[in-house]
């Protein structure tokens, strides 16, 4: 007989871990929307943020101060990236920019670990991780907290895009770079702001992922979890990143539990990619993608 309670438990677990993927994916979407760059270094930025924060806390810096310092560092990093890498590469084909961010991710990963050491750091955000029972289904408290943070962040971004001048500028640049330039928006500034925003997303995602997995090198690999999410949701939609994350999270866990045994398990590593690919062949711009991005 089909065990519905178990099914729901797996589903909820999947959805909640999907939220964590969405957190990473949002950083990608922000940058892709406004500058057309697929930022492979998002994972490295996340690692860098988490490592900086943990190392500061371990050196006795109080929690809020460490958070502020990390945010400041990420803002600086965002501005530097725009200055040093994006500006000289303006008007290059998107794939060149992608490869540049690949190189950038190597630089950031190396620098982060050279600065702070390569050992694994524990990170305790002070959130209880005991699962609690809702109608017979166990839900992790930490996952709920992460979901709440992701929700809050999306709401904040929505408000920011809707009601601030900078948000308006973001939307204008995302809509049409040339038109934005023509009405006098300073693209380099907008890009610096966007990379800063992505850096802030990286701090949030880095702390949550770091608390979950421990702060270590493999943290930068969550970028690989976010890519199928982006393909599914569309590279340029924040809503897509959320829905895609939830879908991928759920599919991954369900596939592992119900399909995995037929293949001897461990299919989590590629199930998401296969689903995303199959979906792409039917709908090349993703669930919420705005246009047919580079379709042949």
């Amino acid at each position: 007989m089909f065990d519905y309670q178990f099914f729901i438990e797996v589903l909820v677990g999947g959805l909640l871990s999907g939220v964590m993927y969405s957190l990473v994916a949002i950083g990608f979407v922000l940058i892709y929307k406004t500058s057309g760059v697929l930022n492979f270094a998002q994972g490295a930025m996340l690692l860098f943020a988490a490592l900086t924060f943990v190392s500061l806390v371990e050196r006795g810096v109080p929690f809020p101060l460490a958070l502020l310092a990390t945010l400041a560092v990420m803002v600086l990093l965002g501005i530097t990236i725009e200055r040093v890498i994006l500006r000289p590469l303006v008007n290059q084909p998107p794939i060149t920019l992608f490869m540049a961010t690949l190189g950038l991710s190597y630089v950031i990963e190396g620098a982060a670990q050279l600065l702070w050491g390569a050992q694994v750091h524990g990170l305790d955000l002070g959130i209880n991780d005991t699962p609690f029972n809702v109608a017979g289904v166990f839900i992790s408290q930490f996952d709920l907290f992460a979901a709440a943070v992701a929700g809050a962040m999306v709401a904040l971004f929505a408000l920011f895009f809707r009601y601030t001048r900078t948000g308006l500028a973001f939307r204008a640049v995302a809509d049409d770079q040339f038109a934005a330039l023509a009405v006098g928006l300073r693209l380099p500034r907008v890009w610096a702001a966007v990379w800063t925003a992505a850096g802030i997303v990286a701090v949030v995602a880095g702390l949550l992922w770091g608390a979950r997995l421990g702060v270590q090198f493999s943290l930068s690999l969550v970028v690989l979890k976010a890519l199928p999410v982006l393909v599914l949701g569309g590279f340029d939609s924040i809503a897509g990143a959320i829905v895609g994350g939830l879908l991928i999270g759920a599919i991954e866990k369900l596939a592992e539990v119900y399909v995995g045994p037929f293949f001897g398990g461990g299919i989590e590593a590629w199930a998401a990619y296969v689903v995303a690919l199959g979906f792409l062949l039917v709908r090349p711009s993703g669930l919420f993608g705005q246009k047919l991005v580079e379709r042949a």
Partner: protein, 363 residues
């Protein structure tokens, strides 16, 4: 084409042919006899395997313009296929196994290349990651591929070709160099022919290529097939001539990136660039560890080495993409044109419709 400063002014004695001849003499006449075991085993053999893999990826990415992040998967397919052909059909000559392994890799490449018919750019790059994860998983999961080794490790047997045992550093080197030279020669011929022009046409403007009658489907699949074939053969060299004990984890995403970095550093759409880039990637860590140890002493341990290596390679990628997107080979060409003004090749013609493709596709 003839160079006035040479006394023998025959048409066939071009600079590049002289260069090839000198290279052949060094590769076969000098290195096997004078090279130390360390040079042959730890530098030249991995260099050759990586260079061939880079030539393969360059066909796909540099010439045909399809970015792949799954090269290591095809290395692995080649290595494991050759191992299985060798193990299960012992009467098969190894050279046949080698070619068959390349064909298996090409077949896998075609399967993962199919999405390229509908996807471009990032989407395709992401979809090639699927190949990367799937192949690594399959090789670890199914014991059959590694003859039921619990962790998927294979031990390559000593090869025998035409009654000659390929044992010892010098013989393994000569074996590798021969395979790489033949494969490279055939690739150069292919790229100089119609199919090579088709690759470039598809890369530069897919719709225009379609309009002038380039068969998109066939061209893209050919690029994927040839590329994975070459990478598969490189995988055989990697497993049988270089490491001799390989595990699926050795063909991870970092290896794929390494091969991509080789062609970016060496030069996209340049065969010579692939070799230059591979040489750089192999020699650079060794140099860095020597220099680092000399300058910093004990502080420069393996962890610091790995991290600083990452920083320099990453920085170099970004720097090259900004300053010289044609890679190190363009710098070398410019430098040699300055140093050897008498032997300089004819000055590049201004790009006209007649020679546009030959300019961009220069090998």
């Amino acid at each position: 084409m003839s160079t006035p400063s040479l006394s023998i002014n025959a048409n066939w004695l071009t600079r590049s042919r002289v260069g090839v001849a000198v290279l052949l003499v060094i590769a076969y006449g000098v290195i096997p006899f004078t090279g130390s075991e360390y040079l042959l085993d730890a530098i030249l053999t991995p260099f050759l395997a990586l260079a061939l893999a880079a030539v393969g990826l360059n066909v796909l990415t540099g010439y045909a313009g399809q970015v792949s992040l799954g090269s290591a998967a095809f290395l692995a397919v080649g290595a494991y296929a050759a191992y299985n052909f060798n193990l299960r059909i012992p009467e098969l000559p190894f050279l046949v196994s080698l070619v068959l392994a390349g064909i298996v890799a090409a077949a896998v490449g075609l399967v993962f290349g199919l999405p390229s018919l509908r996807l471009r750019g990032f989407y395709l790059a992401v979809s090639t990651l699927a190949a990367q994860f799937f192949v690594q998983w399959a090789l670890t999961k199914f014991g059959w591929f590694s003859n039921d080794n619990p962790s998927g490790v294979i031990d390559a047997p000593t090869l025998t070709i035409g009654g000659v045992q390929i044992s010892g550093a010098a013989r393994r080197y000569v074996f590798s160099v021969t395979i790489v030279l033949i494969a490279t020669f055939l690739t150069v011929r292919l790229l100089a022919a119609q199919s090579g022009r088709n690759f470039i046409a598809v890369r530069d403007h897919e719709i225009a290529a379609k309009v002038i009658g380039v068969p998109l489907l066939r061209t893209k699949l050919l690029a994927f097939g040839v590329s994975s074939f070459l990478i598969g053969v490189a995988g055989v060299l990697w497993a049988f001539a270089y490491l001799r004990t390989v595990e699926p984890a050795g063909f991870n995403l970092d290896r794929s990136f390494q091969i991509l970095f080789i062609i970016i550093i060496g030069g996209l759409a340049s065969i010579r660039g692939s070799f230059l880039g591979a040489a750089f990637i192999v020699v650079f860590p060794l140099l860095l560890s020597r220099v680092g140890a000399a300058l910093l002493g004990n502080v420069f341990d393996s962890g610091v080495l790995e991290m600083s290596q990452r920083i320099v390679i990453g920085g170099l990628i970004v720097g090259l993409l900004i300053a010289e997107p044609r890679g190190l080979i363009a710098l070398v060409d410019r430098l040699s044109a300055r140093i050897l003004p008498k032997l300089r090749r004819p000055a590049p013609q201004p790009i006209s419709p007649q020679n546009y493709h030959s300019q961009k596709g220069v090998i």
